[in-house]
Symmetry: C2
Subunit: 440 residues, 2 copies
């Protein structure tokens, strides 16, 4: 490539993000050329179905339905992988790297599962491999973590990184309706897939946390070690009770360094209403990065969508092209020379305050009983509220408890004891309360 004034791109995958990226590149081509001093050109594109009608004009572009043609095309300098999934994408990216092509991808599942292998082979081949678009759409969080806070010891990364979950919780809070009724609305609006389980059960946020934590703490990608819970069991009444106590319920992805290692967890949690993450509503994503020097840094923006993702893909393309253009082999900033080996701690060891709700038979002594149980675990009670009985002459009343800091394994025992009490019906509902105070 050297001093060539033309950087040639090959696209594999031409769905929403692929087409948005292609259109944006065309539209802003002059600006990019003016800024960077070189031209970008898409020379080949692999699509699924050659016969399909497309809005995008692809004249002058080599069109194929064999993605391997693109990654092996001697004309291509940078492969832009937007095909998604892990199987073919993994083969394609490996072939591209082996063939000396730089790679830009938006594929979070690929990186969460095969990131270590891919980044190592890219490093060995002196290939640039970039994936800004894999997490949080247009928010430049990969660059921020890998370049902008490099002088810091990172204490924690906390994200609202699944737009579907955040939209649904925001709507459940605003309208006081159930998960199920919001789900159909989210599907109608295109914010949830026909099969929403990947999003609402937390897997997608888990993939993203695997990437964020590996970059922030310089560890391996460890998706399989992340504790993952979704929002499918969150009830609107708990959102309302939480708000009454000054908290918002959010689906959080958390990586926090403790004395014992790294906590990696994805779950609904209560956060103070006046915390900056509490006002992140709808499909917006937001990530808080807390470094020992920087203090808390917040990044928010569109977490999904064709154009927002294209924004990140193009920033990666230009980063890679700039290095390719000047003939330099830029130091591969994304990965440390030597990986950290913080042990991942068990979720049951993680410590926080808790929100607990039980349905109690309305009889004297139940508050005293709950207090005794918590006291036997040496845990303070921050607040305890007995609510009005629900309409319809329910025989039980909800009791809400906010506990002091304690381990997850202890609150689970507490909840079991409470659920087995004669004064209480059903099981205890329990959520972590995040106060953004990291014990270090």
């Amino acid at each position: 490539m050297g001093s060539s004034k033309m950087i040639k791109l090959g696209f594999v995958g031409f769905g929403t993000v692929g087409q948005s990226t292609f259109i944006a590149l065309e539209r802003n081509l002059y600006q990019i050329k003016q800024q960077m001093g070189y031209e970008l050109e898409v020379v080949s594109v692999a699509v699924k179905d050659l016969e399909k009608k497309r809005v995008v004009e692809l004249s002058g572009v080599r069109l194929t339905d064999d993605p391997f043609e693109v990654v092996l095309d001697p004309n291509v300098d940078i492969v832009v992988e937007l095909i998604g999934g892990t199987e073919i994408a993994h083969e394609l990216v490996s072939a591209a790297i082996a063939n000396g092509k730089h790679v830009v991808t938006a594929n979070k599942a690929l990186i969460a599962n095969f990131g270590d292998e891919i980044l190592l082979s890219a490093q060995n081949e002196n290939i640039l491999f970039r994936f800004e678009a894999a997490v949080a759409g247009s928010i430049p969080i990969i660059k921020a973590l890998s370049e902008s806070v490099r002088g810091n010891r990172i204490k924690a990364v906390v994200g609202i990184i699944n737009g579907t979950c955040n939209f649904m919780l925001s709507e459940m809070a605003a309208k006081q309706v159930s998960f199920v009724s919001i789900l159909s609305e989210a599907q109608r609006l295109g914010y949830a897939e026909a099969d929403p389980s990947f999003d609402v059960m937390g897997t997608d946020a888990g993939h993203k946390l695997a990437i964020l934590s590996a970059i922030a703490f310089g560890t391996e990608f460890q998706f399989e070690k992340i504790h993952v819970e979704g929002i499918q069991n969150v009830l609107p009444e708990d959102i309302a009770y939480a708000k009454g106590l000054g908290y918002q319920v959010k689906h959080l992805a958390i990586a926090v360094k403790t004395r014992n290692g790294l906590e990696l967890r994805v779950h609904p949690a209560l956060i103070p209403l006046d915390h900056i993450l509490a006002s992140v509503d709808g499909v917006v994503n937001a990530i808080l990065v807390d470094g020992d020097l920087s203090g808390p840094l917040m990044f928010s923006g569109a977490g999904a969508g064709g154009d927002a993702t294209a924004s990140a893909v193009i920033s990666d393309i230009i980063d890679v092209a700039s290095v390719a253009h000047t003939g330099g082999t830029r130091f591969m900033a994304v990965r440390p020379e030597k990986l950290s080996d913080y042990p991942i701690t068990a979720f049951t060891e993680s410590v926080s305050g808790y929100y607990v709700r039980v349905e109690a038979k309305d009889r004297p002594g139940v508050l005293a009983e709950i207090s005794r149980v918590l006291a036997s675990f040496n845990v303070s009670i921050e607040a305890i509220h007995q609510k009005e009985a629900k309409e319809g002459a329910s025989t039980t009343v909800p009791i809400i408890i906010l506990t002091g800091r304690m381990a997850e394994k202890a609150i689970r025992e507490v909840c079991e004891i409470l659920a087995s009490s004669d004064s209480i019906t059903g099981s205890a509902i329990c959520y972590k309360v995040e106060d953004f105070q990291w014990a270090t």
Copy 2:
């Protein structure tokens, strides 16, 4: 430098930021080495007074009170300029560049005033010149603008970028007290200088906006063309009235592209209470970047302080060192190949809604009179409220008007006409209402 495993730094200026940077580098040295594969070493430091006692241990470092010794030291690879001001700093940085040293600086006044000349000479000499710490402390906004949104056409950049102003307005809002009484509190807390005029009159935010706009829009640095107003005339009652109408008063730095060019302005303005910038309180900085692809991106964090600034300085040092280490000459991303020449439009042409307050004699017909004046300018009234007369049997009542969109020059005429009315005493108070809708 080439393949050397040691990158040598020379500091000029060793105040709060210099010492914080030095200490942080020492503390995180092992981590940086582990991540980057090379070592950073401070080899020489220029201080003001050699005799002064310092907490920082400087053994093994060449200490001098002549900063030119550092920039000419053949051992130094990267000059870290933290001396501040424009005169000596300008000479030092020019000498460093001429002498083949890369430069990292936190000096916003230097860049706002001499950025074009310095960056051009750096580019000509193949020198890296970085200044992430010059704007908004630890927030990586220079990198975000220059690298992460490069595929975008930027529509607007809006920042809360002066911590003193934001702290004071937040406190005035919370406590309903005057500018003057908060100023002494801010000074006591170290959030305002003994001579606070540079901050509270908007010059500091203006310098930062000159930098942000030049990077975002690829123009020259044009501090002298920015319309700059401070917060010294903001009254607590206007903050309270604005809040009653659903708005927060914030000191904003705005660069927005319009059909006619670029608007560059720094002034207090009303923003909707539910806008993400409205909840940015205290000394926190926040910057919103709106790109055609990315949509609105928000960055917030500590805008000042030794450690936060050190975080940005170190990220720049590592960026530069990484390029130096690999022997590559990284493409100078901060500046476009060819500058844009958007004309800067006059502040009087800028269009927005307005908040207007007048003190009216409590007699019939005054609301009708105000309505007639605005109608004669073809401007709609979004809201008009007559408040209770103030205690103390004042003979006037405040009237608050929210107008539709109109040009600054028109609202000035409106205010003059109102102030000259027999029904109104004193002059009209007037602030822009920012709705974050950019007319493009």
